[in-house]
């Protein structure tokens, strides 16, 4: 791979966060490289939001070395800020504004940070169309539905054409249609705008669809790091084979599904119908990992799938 692909946008080393006497993050390590979509998964209270807020520069970590776009977020100045985008959950702010006015206003802040390679801000009409708010562009924000409001949040997050975008549970409360459109938007941002994206979600299906890489945060550590396929292979080498023979359905778990299917055909030939071979889904993987953590085997899980030994490196350069 060309070296530019490897440029690290986020580097987190030994990040700790303590609230009172409670350690929420206990030595988190990970790297995000340019153009990646990285999804942070984890049970409630695992520290996903805390992690994102530390990276955004909105929260001070207790300890650790962090570089976001080459800068420690605790010391990130406004010029650094201009290169990042944050999608916030709106509530009742700017109720009297219209999406068009608000995006124009917030976009203007980015004008002095425009460069020939990255013109800032986005053209507002284009942005509004991109998030599907053209019909509501001149309505008051308070009249927008929940889903429309979230799309406005996304538009605000990207109005400055960020190099790095943070999203904390962006699709909570989306209907399936809005969710699909949001996914297309994310693909568009990474493909056309060379935006690196870090997001949290509870939706495993979404994680599978969007992520180049998934990080699972449990027990204050990253217990898994890889794409959905790789994670599934880590947690379970077994595949599941389902087939139908003579009107009867069968299910068999096997460590070698290919061999098993070959033997199945060798034995029954064309009589086999409805054949399905599946690996453990991301959901299975995730639940297994979180369960391992919650049953007090967090350390074991962390060692088995930890970011140091078992780390799957997509670039293969480390």
């Amino acid at each position: 791979m060309p070296p530019v692909e490897d440029e690290s946008i986020i580097e987190v080393r030994d990040l700790w966060m303590r609230y009172g006497s409670n350690d929420v993050l206990k030595g988190v390590d990970f790297t995000v490289t340019r153009g990646e979509v990285v999804i942070l998964l984890g049970p409630n209270g695992a520290g996903k939001t805390t992690t994102i807020e530390i990276l955004e520069g909105f929260r001070l970590p207790s300890a650790g070395t962090i570089a976001v776009l080459g800068v420690d977020p605790t010391k990130g100045d406004e010029d650094w800020r201009a290169r990042t985008g944050v999608v916030l959950q709106s509530w009742r702010d700017h109720a009297r504004w219209t999406p068009r006015k608000l995006l124009t206003h917030l976009g203007r802040y980015y004008l002095p940070y425009s460069t020939p390679e990255r013109t800032r801000p986005y053209d507002v009409a284009e942005l509004i169309a991109m998030v599907g708010l053209s019909e509501q562009a001149d309505q008051k924000v308070r009249t927008l539905s929940g889903g429309q409001r979230r799309r406005l949040d996304v538009a605000i997050g990207i109005v400055g054409r960020p190099e790095l975008l943070f999203l904390d549970e962006p699709t909570a409360g989306f209907d399936p249609h809005a969710r699909r459109e949001f996914h297309e938007l994310i693909h568009r941002l990474t493909d056309l705008e060379d935006t690196t994206i870090m997001l949290t979600t509870h939706d495993l299906d979404e994680a599978e669809k969007l992520a180049d890489r998934i990080l699972i945060l449990a027990g204050g550590r990253i217990v898994a790091d890889g794409n959905a396929d790789q994670l599934a292979r880590q947690v379970s080498a077994e595949g599941e084979v389902r087939w139908c023979l003579g009107g009867q359905h069968f299910v068999q778990s096997t460590p070698e599904p290919t061999k098993f299917v070959w033997e199945l055909f060798a034995q029954h030939g064309y009589e086999i119908t409805d054949l399905q071979v599946r690996r453990a889904s991301l959901e299975d993987t995730y639940l297994t990992m979180v369960q391992q953590h919650e049953s007090g085997r967090a350390d074991q899980a962390a060692t088995a799938f930890g970011s140091t030994d078992a780390k799957i490196d997509t670039a293969g350069a480390r």
Binding site: E53, Q89, R96, L106, Y109
Partner: protein, 288 residues
């Protein structure tokens, strides 16, 4: 100017546009129009009921003396309570966090607030002054010089009092507490600052306390702008004490300019998504 200076200046300009937009949205909103009309109705109504009473020891009628005092009081009240509520509210609802997420957005936000609340005085002044001029005689005794005095007292009064509102709004733990830490002290202070009755009718130590704060001086400055020279006899020391007015208001303005940025930086630093989320959860419980 260096690059940082240019970028900050740009944010100030964006903030001015923001303040103007907020102001135009406010005067078009039935809710805010209702507020302005209610205030005007209350003030003019009070003056109207007392239109025939004479101020003791003079030939002046109550509206002549009270109208400028009340205007002074309203200015102070408006620019303290207005920003205090706005900031406390917008810290909770995420407006401020949005400002923090854009480059130099807090600079723009604060600029917008200052302009918005300054402009917000004009609907109050207009809705009170116009009916007052129609209903009462002998309100203005100073002509052009008087209006110039109104202008500088207003400007200096704004600088002296608005930082107080911004500081209260930045420090209160939540919107509900603006009543305790903002509304209540300001009302008490207004009560002892010679707005509704002469300050000399209070104990000496209360007079001293009142004169430490800007509200009294705003009222005094406004009276000096509207009333005839002879009315100075009603004041402490039989004088308008113009130099003292300038001195006290300027001192507050300077203190405000020094303290406010520090407080604002501290407040901005503490803004985060979870903070807003916590406030949202709290608010949901209030509704239930």
């Amino acid at each position: 100017m260096n690059r940082t200076g240019h970028r900050t200046l740009h944010a100030v300009r964006v903030g001015l546009a923001r303040g103007w937009t907020e102001f135009t949205q406010s005067i078009r909103s039935p809710q805010d129009q209702g507020f302005y009309l209610f205030m005007a109705f209350a003030v003019v109504g009070y003056l109207f009921l007392r239109r025939n009473s004479e101020v003791e020891g003079t030939s002046l009628l109550v509206p002549s003396v009270s109208m400028p005092s009340i205007l002074g009081g309203l200015v102070a009240f408006g620019v303290i309570i207005g920003p205090a509520y706005a900031l406390a509210m917008e810290r909770e609802d995420g407006t401020l966090l949005r400002a923090k997420a854009v480059p130099r957005g807090i600079v723009g936000y604060v600029t917008g607030q200052v302009l918005f609340h300054s402009l917000g005085l004009f609907p109050s002044l207009v809705t009170i002054l116009i009916p007052s001029f129609l209903l009462f005689d002998n309100l203005v005794h100073r002509g052009l010089a008087g209006w110039l005095t109104v202008a500088w007292v207003l400007a200096l009064g704004l600088l002296a009092t608005m930082p107080i509102g911004i500081v209260i709004g930045s420090l209160v733990p939540n919107v509900q507490k603006v009543g305790t830490w903002g509304m209540l002290p300001v009302l008490v202070l207004t009560g002892i600052s010679g707005i509704f009755y002469p300050i000399q009718s209070l104990w000496t130590w209360v007079q001293v306390v009142a004169q430490l704060f800007p509200i009294y001086w705003l009222g005094l400055g406004m009276r000096s702008a509207f009333l005839p020279e002879s009315a100075a006899a009603l004041e402490i020391g039989d004088s308008w004490r113009t130099l003292a007015t300038i001195g006290v208001l300027t001192a507050w303005a300077i203190a405000g300019l020094l303290v406010t940025p520090v407080v604002l930086r501290r407040m901005a630093r503490r803004q985060s998504g979870s903070h807003v989320e916590a406030a949202r959860q709290e608010a949901v419980q209030w509704v239930r």
